[in-house]
């Protein structure tokens, strides 16, 4: 058990240091990522102005799907935090590539578990990311502070934090599972494209899902993708409160569990099919 912990710790530390090497223009890059929100501020400003509402004062009468103009801008900002936790750039394509070129066999001969290794690497990368990105995020949130109506109560903050961690887990195991499909099809990039398409829309990255009209919102809110960005943001902005909030967290956790198991099963089955291409 001790040696196992030591192994995990070493993997975590190596990934940590590996990640810190590249931090050059990272700061500026992260800050620039907020530029699209500037256009969203103006776009939704025009939408609410067109609705004939005093958009600037954010009066409660002019709402879209329970969101006022200020809520809408705040939503995009908080959803970005959710995405920072749940997005896993290169995870699925990386797994698929390792299957294709045979690199994956190193996990089969060494006493390291593939999913565990990737998980720790990802945790380390994310920790470094938050450490460095905290600055740009703080600057952006400070600049946009007028769109928030103060901090939510402690209970909500706790739920928000839990939902972010669950969003990270969900994002990881969901994408890892897609990568595992590489055992069966070898080429997952086109599948990944379609997944990204749906992810962008159904995670609520594009707009809060609650503004969808009647049949569509039910469909959108039934998928696990909403927990990647929409749900955490809606919790923070107190659009989902009380028992609905805790129920949401529970089903988010259930989805995580589902994908953990699915990922394990896929890996176990996939390895049996695996024919070790490459040198």
């Amino acid at each position: 058990m001790l040696t196992r912990t030591q192994t995990w710790w070493t993997i975590l530390r190596i990934s940590f240091e590996e990640r810190l090497v590249y931090r050059g223009d990272f700061w500026l890059g992260t800050l620039m990522r907020f530029l699209p929100i500037v256009t969203q501020v103006f776009l939704w400003g025009a939408v609410f102005a067109g609705m004939g509402v005093a958009a600037k004062s954010g009066t409660s009468s002019g709402q879209i799907g329970g969101f006022s103009y200020h809520d809408m801008v705040a939503y995009y900002l908080v959803a970005m935090i959710g995405r920072a936790f749940s997005s896993m750039p290169g995870l699925a394509s990386g797994i698929a590539r390792q299957i294709r070129d045979g690199e994956i066999k190193k996990y089969l001969v060494q006493p390291i578990d593939l999913i565990g290794f990737l998980f720790l690497t990802r945790v380390a990368h994310k920790l470094v990311y938050y450490g460095v990105a905290l600055g740009p995020f703080a600057v952006a949130f400070y600049l946009f502070r007028g769109y928030f109506s103060g901090w939510p109560p402690a209970e909500v903050l706790v739920a928000f934090l839990i939902s972010l961690i669950l969003a990270f887990l969900l994002g990881f195991f969901l994408e890892a599972l897609i990568g595992m499909l590489g055992f069966w099809t070898l080429e997952v990039s086109s599948l990944l494209w379609i997944y990204m398409l749906f992810n962008f829309f159904l995670s609520g990255h594009m707009f809060p899902l609650s503004i969808l009209p009647a049949p569509w919102n039910t469909i959108a809110l039934a998928t696990p993708l909403q927990y990647l960005a929409y749900f955490p943001a809606a919790v923070f902005l107190e659009k989902i409160e009380g028992s609905a909030m805790w129920q949401g967290l529970a089903s988010q956790a259930a989805w995580v569990l589902f994908f953990v198991v699915a990922c394990r099963v896929a890996f176990a089955r996939g390895v049996r099919r695996y024919s070790a291409f490459g040198g």
């Binding site: 890059g29 025009a46 609410f48 086109s190 379609i194 829309f201 707009f207 009209p213």
Partner: protein, 280 residues
């Protein structure tokens, strides 16, 4: 053998070769086309959703500053056409250009008896972007007859393709200028992000940039980096009745295009002068 290459024939060869290359993997081509249509369809869904809640984008409906649904769809179609022409002809090449600089393979382009900027800018054509061009035309054809009490004049229809070409030229200039800077920077991943984020501002009518910050932004994105005239001028031609106060913008678009092309050509040549072949 003529000393001056026939540029049109060379270009047509590029077009043909790229089509042959794309058709070698037909399934991949179809999937790429479908997924790029998918992205556009989702964007369209968002705007349909928005116009479920409001009749106008912007408050100034009487002054002509607000855009209604079909006017905005004309805007969107114009934006689609311009962006996908850029995507089809220039995007893959600009990406390739930084790679050529990094790897030192630019040597081979420099040796060829043809204008280097021409060769670098047009070598590859991304045929899968054509799907979105068709989508843009369909959207235009859908929205135009539905414009409320207004039919664009014949002159507008004549000027429209011209202004599309001007818009494409501005976008191309910014792109090739940014790509050329990789000579000095070595790697320019964040410059592509920069390209994406800057052109993101061009996707909306300039009237939405309101208030003190908005006015400043509108000014900067018209004069300094003229991305706001790219879609706004041609879209306004077809979507809205003629307004004399916008004539200056239409004239300015011509000046801005000329300047952009000259500046980007200058940056490109300076970049080539600073190029020191790598790894040989």
């Amino acid at each position: 053998m003529s000393p001056r290459p026939n540029y049109l024939r060379v270009f047509l060869t590029f077009v043909r070769n790229s089509l042959i290359r794309d058709m070698m993997f037909p399934t991949n081509f179809i999937i790429e086309s479908i997924s790029s249509i998918g992205w556009v369809a989702m964007n369209l869904a968002l705007y349909i959703l928005i116009f479920n809640y409001t009749n106008y984008l912007g408050a100034d409906a009487e002054g002509g500053g607000a855009w209604d649904k079909y006017q905005f769809f004309v805007f969107l179609a114009t934006s689609l056409l311009i962006n996908n022409i850029v995507q089809m002809f220039f995007m893959p090449n600009a990406e390739e250009f930084s790679e050529l600089i990094r790897s030192g393979n630019l040597d081979f382009a420099l040796l060829k008896p043809i204008d280097t900027q021409f060769l670098i800018s047009l070598q590859k054509v991304d045929w899968s972007a054509a799907a979105n061009l068709v989508l843009g035309l369909l959207l235009l054809g859908y929205a135009l007859p539905r414009l409320d009490g207004f039919t664009p004049s014949l002159l507008a229809f004549v000027l429209y393709p011209l202004y599309i070409a001007l818009g494409v030229s501005i976008m191309y200039s910014i792109m090739i200028g940014l790509a050329a800077t990789s000579v000095w920077l070595g790697r320019n991943q964040s410059l592509y992000d920069f390209w994406f984020y800057i052109t993101n501002f061009a996707r909306y009518p300039l009237e939405i940039y309101n208030g003190p910050i908005g006015n400043y932004l509108r000014w900067a994105l018209t004069i300094l980096i003229p991305v706001l005239v790219v879609v706004n001028v041609p879209a306004r031609l077809l979507a809205k009745p003629f307004q004399p106060e916008y004539t200056y913008l239409a004239v300015f678009a011509i000046v801005a295009t000329a300047l952009s092309l000259v500046v980007s050509r200058w940056v490109f040549r300076r970049a080539l002068l600073s190029y020191r072949s790598a790894s040989s």
